[in-house]
């Protein structure tokens, strides 16, 4: 199949692409760092703040348990939020860029 030639350098300088790149980078690395920090608080907290983890919140269920359980919901939340933003913004910008290039 004859491959279509693209001027990659020109696309990389296209304002639409630059916008896409800035938005994506900030979003992806920002939320990735947030999720890492939130996750590592769990083993660090369990080891160094055992008093906090023992505080009972509902009945016998303590803070440590709720915090560990929250990891699941935070991860799912980030995933759904990313999906929302990507479907709405990133995919739209990509489509607009491709339309603009008449590809």
């Amino acid at each position: 199949m004859a491959e279509r030639q693209y001027d990659w350098k020109a696309i990389a300088k296209n304002p639409k692409f630059v916008e896409l790149h800035h938005k994506k980078t900030a979003f992806l690395f920002g939320w990735w760092i947030f999720s890492c920090v939130y996750y590592f608080l769990l083993p660090i907290g369990a080891a160094y703040t055992p008093g906090l983890f023992k505080v009972k919140i509902i009945g016998v269920v303590n803070f440590g348990y709720i915090f560990a359980l929250s990891q699941f919901f935070v991860s799912w939340g980030i995933a759904l939020y990313y999906s929302h933003v990507a479907n709405k913004d990133f995919d739209r910008l990509t489509r607009e860029l491709i339309d603009e290039l008449h590809l």
Partner: protein, 664 residues
């Protein structure tokens, strides 16, 4: 079609020869099976995260499984029903293979299912590829014995997917074709980069595969009494069959079926547990805290650390951290390996080449995250449910590592309805464990053979000049050979402690593969030298740190611990009233310690004691891998790599030019 006939003949020959070999070995293997230490291998992640350094004092408290204690109970499966269920699984998956084989004509079909898997299907397949028998049986076992720590341990396995989702899934779909080598060689010198990427892929897959194979053999022996060697060969022949004939299509569907079965089993069992708890989660946790058996179990656990707890305090302690994971640095190190390693696992990366677009790749990770996360939350219910209904004492009497907890729970919950339901449910979960093993090992074999056939053979040896027919043929031959090697390694490693290999696989993926993948996709100045130095340093650092870590056996350390046990036991003996002797368990521990105290010599690499105190090397090896990759690239700059960055970056963000990747 002659090729197919050759393969069928070869597989038949292999299985017959293997069966004959196993038959020969049957007698000794059968004798050894009940006494083996399945817990260590099967609970792979469990053991790898174990905190305390090997000291014999701990082995007194947890009765050594080496000699079958008189009190040792066994999990009784109904062999007819169980084997029947296994045969059903084999029949269904074989049907899938026959169907898949008809559609596998090109290299793209073989490695990437022709890019024709949907996002939802791929999500289930990722979950099926990822959740091993160790997560299924090992984590619920950990929770049933150590409470909170087991739950905390499971969290990292889900959080790891955030990295996959945000950083690697879509760029890899847009920039890659079949393998890790494709992504890395885009703007570098393809030959050396592909060769190193293939070596790293094969290393990661082999470590993981070995742990899975050994675990599989021991589990089968435990569940249905098939000798270890025969189990390995059986699992191996099926795995080779799926991959050689059905390629990625069959592997994907085996993984989807397995994930469906696993979730169905986990849901059903959790439902039964929740019925017993009256669907009241708070009451469920109060039952745990109030259980006299759990209280007794916890007070014995904390007594080892010199803490005295009893009654409700001990019960509450079960819901607090620190009963099992005692070294925070090791925890953080393992967490890093999981969070970064999952995204560098070749068999996970490969799954993103099976979907047509970046959107589908995104959707598949999100679906996988819900399945995997949901599964781990259900695992909590199963683990705590097992602790309530079977008691930790009952669980350890069957298996000191707790790996049988879920299966015992299934039997009991079912038997409370009717005895036959218990047998059926147990048989069903055994079949799920079996399907789990098959799905995971098939994915690994496919990833390793893709690296060898596509990267080394087609692109390094044949310079990329191989027609579709030849590529598929090479892929099939390679899968056959890789699978056969997997069987051999599994047979040879029966007596080895393979528990640390899973953590090692994740550490190599996190320290070697992930840094170079991220830098290739996101850093303009990255180049050939960076890829090679990153892969080499990351891989070598992880492996060598494990070689000098407490994972290895240090005879002198063992002897020292044994001496302490002897002193303690002699004291205990002296404290007893005249005429009484030590309990049978203590007497055995003393006898074992006396033998161990004689041990002398050094570890595999000639050390008397560990040089590196962590069991998980990630904390050191991941930064080393990143540094080596960055320094290597800066030391040998390449104009061409920098110039081509725009192309890579536009491609990975937009998916432009991807048609080539799919149709090629």
């Amino acid at each position: 079609m002659t090729i197919k006939k050759i393969f069928i003949a070869a597989s038949l020959a292999l299985s017959v020869a293997a069966a004959a070999y196993a038959e020969e070995q049957k007698a000794p293997a059968a004798g050894a099976a009940p006494a083996m230490s399945a817990p260590a291998a099967q609970g792979a992640p469990a053991a790898t995260a174990a905190a305390p350094a090997p000291n014999a004092a701990a082995s007194v408290a947890t009765p050594a499984p080496a000699t079958p204690a008189p009190a040792k109970k066994e999990l009784k499966t109904n062999r007819t029903i169980t084997i029947g269920m296994f045969l059903v699984i084999i029949a269904i998956t074989m049907g899938v293979v026959v169907w898949a084989a008809k559609q596998t004509k090109t290299a793209s079909d073989f490695y990437a299912a022709g890019g024709g898997i949907t996002g939802t299907q791929n999500g289930w397949a990722i979950a099926g590829d990822y959740m091993s028998a160790a997560s299924f049986l090992g984590i619920s076992g950990l929770i049933s014995l150590y409470g909170y720590d087991g739950f905390m341990y499971s969290v990292g396995w889900l959080v790891a997917y955030i990295t996959v989702l945000l950083i690697v899934a879509e760029p890899c779909r847009n920039a890659g074709k079949y393998t890790l080598g494709d992504i890395l060689s885009f703007r570098t010198s393809p030959k050396p980069v592909r060769a190193f990427a293939a070596i790293s892929t094969v290393a990661v897959s082999t470590f993981y595969l070995t742990a899975q194979m050994v675990g599989a053999g021991k589990l089968m022996a435990l569940l249905i009494g098939i000798p270890y060697k025969l189990s390995i060969i059986g699992v191996g022949v099926l795995m080779v069959g799926y991959v050689v004939f059905g390629g990625m299509v069959a592997t994907t569907w085996v993984q989807i079926i397995k994930a469906g079965l696993l979730m169905a089993g986990a849901f059903l069992l959790s439902f039964l547990v929740m019925i017993k708890a009256g669907f009241n989660p708070i009451g469920f946790f109060s039952t745990i805290v109030g259980s006299p058996e759990i209280q007794d179990h916890v007070s014995k656990l904390v007594l080892k650390d010199g803490v005295i707890l009893s009654g409700m305090d001990a019960g509450q302690r079960f819901l607090e951290p620190g009963l099992y994971l005692k070294n925070p640095l090791d925890q953080i190190s393992l967490g890093m390996a999981l969070v970064l390693g999952t995204a560098g696992m070749p068999h996970i990366l490969m799954r993103f080449f099976t979907v047509p677009t970046a959107q589908a790749a995104r959707k598949s990770v999100i679906i996988a995250m819900f399945i995997i996360g949901g599964f781990y939350i259900l695992t909590t219910l199963l683990g705590f449910g097992a602790a309530i209904h079977l008691t930790p004492q009952g669980i350890t009497s069957v298996d000191p590592g707790g790996n049988m907890a879920t299966l015992m729970l299934a039997q009991q919950m079912g038997a409370d309805i009717a005895p036959i339901v218990g047998d059926l449910f147990l048989a069903f979960l055994c079949a799920v464990a079996f399907a789990t093993i098959l799905a995971v090992v098939s994915g690994l074999v496919l990833a390793a053979s893709a690296a060898i056939a596509h990267d080394i053979y087609v692109n390094v040896i044949k310079d990329g000049h191989a027609d579709q027919h030849e590529q598929v043929f090479a892929a099939r031959i390679t899968s056959f050979v890789v699978g056969a090697c997997g069987i051999m390694i599994g047979l040879a490693a029966e007596k080895q402690n393979v528990a640390h290999l899973v953590a090692l696989a994740f550490a190599v993926a996190a320290s070697g593969n992930l840094p170079v993948v991220i830098l290739s996709l996101f850093w303009r100045k990255f180049n050939t030298a960076g890829v090679i130095s990153g892969l080499l340093v990351g891989t070598i650092a992880s492996i060598s740190l494990v070689m000098v870590s407490p994972n290895m056996t240090y005879p002198k350390v063992v002897a020292e611990g044994a001496k302490k046990v002897i002193v303690a036991m002699e004291k205990k003996q002296a404290a007893l009233p005249a005429g009484q002797s030590l309990s049978e368990k203590d007497a055995k521990a003393l006898a074992k310690a006396k033998v161990d105290a004689q041990q002398t010599g050094t570890s595999m690499v000639g050390l008397e004691k560990p040089l590196f105190t962590l069991k998980n090397p990630g904390l050191i090896s991941i930064p080393l891998g990143f540094m080596a990759a960055i320094l290597g690239a800066l030391a040998f700059p390449s104009r061409r790599s920098e110039d081509m960055f725009d192309e890579v970056y536009v491609r990975q963000n937009t998916g432009l030019g991807m048609a080539k990747a799919v149709e090629h």
